[in-house]
Symmetry: C2
Subunit: 238 residues, 2 copies
Amino acid sequence: MTRLEVFPILGVPEVRPGDDLAGMIVAAADGGDGTALAAGDVVVVTQKVVSKAEGKLEAIDADDPRGHKAIVERESVRILRRRGDLIISETKHGFVCANAGVDLSNVEDGYAALLPDDSDRSARRLRDGIRARAGIDVAVIVSDTFGRVWRRGLTDVAIGCAGIAAVLDLRGTEDALGRELQVTEVAIVDELAGAADLVMGKATGAAAAVVRGVDARWFRRGDVRSEIVRRPEEDLFR
Amino acid sequence: MTRLEVFPILGVPEVRPGDDLAGMIVAAADGGDGTALAAGDVVVVTQKVVSKAEGKLEAIDADDPRGHKAIVERESVRILRRRGDLIISETKHGFVCANAGVDLSNVEDGYAALLPDDSDRSARRLRDGIRARAGIDVAVIVSDTFGRVWRRGLTDVAIGCAGIAAVLDLRGTEDALGRELQVTEVAIVDELAGAADLVMGKATGAAAAVVRGVDARWFRRGDVRSEIVRRPEEDLFR
């Protein structure tokens, strides 16, 4: 029977540009109480620490809201909606989200954190770094917190992944009654990112979490940008 | 440390109108291997079996696609988009989803399953039923599988809940660096529904799953319709 465990990786120190984030995660996970990373784990890492490690920080005058807005506009390829200080826009990666993912919380005063340039690549590097330091293959998801169009509240979703399918394609499989499934594409990396958020919480500052027990058939080369980002021509709402 | 376990409830028999779904879930969960329901569990139940137990089934001619379309149009209060056989519409509950939630998979040939009339009430009844039969307080989430606007792939979300906050309001709390959080409302029932989907899978036919270990502070009277469904006047994309 599939049985997942989900737990946070606590104690990752404040991350600074150039830090060895994979090494910091491996060290923090090894708390000696069964939380050390194991082969087959899915390691979910928040965008914030990935951006910090990659130096995607930009100085900003906290007393001048125009500074934040100017960065958001520069990081957007297209503005979809504005309301007050909120901008919903499309980023160069194809993500549609609030304020182009430019974020001020859990960042030092005077700085904004931007999205990684290529968060699938970031995930691959973290996966390679964990393999190099711990000698095991894990899957890695880089997560961020996005709003939804018709539903209130935010959920964490994947903006990058490595070593795991972003979308599980069930075409050709049958339901419990032997009929071909209507629902064929499940965005498992988004469900995994959301599960990880449940144990990280926004206020604990946990930088990463582990989902253990994931079906080994889901592990393959995966990529959020090509599997999840809708191409504009197939998008009914852009 | 928060540590969640997520596992499916296997062996719920095929559900028919009028069945005691709460009793069937309690019985199926008690497999004698530590899977019996416990106080504080979050029990996620798929919409399909809730609709079946509530008799929300409608005869349909499987050879005539117009039958399905006619039901979808009747169950919609507003059509947002059409493409081929796909209709994106708003239901009377305020959910915006494909085909008004009218579904043919995992339903007997010749029938379509409609959404429950009030899935928060369905969740409350299941919670009461589980309390009556097992003598414990659990939270209940009724889940369904929805698409997303700008992201490919489907995820499970909550369409009803009982005994748990739908949205966690973090206003007034601070981030790890002592700054007030920008992200203040987390749709935890959607993240829980997605986590449960990871162990149910679309093909196993598992009707329900348990998330164990959830923060006890999240348990309160909750309601998807009032907490999650966006009011049209605050919706930038309707």
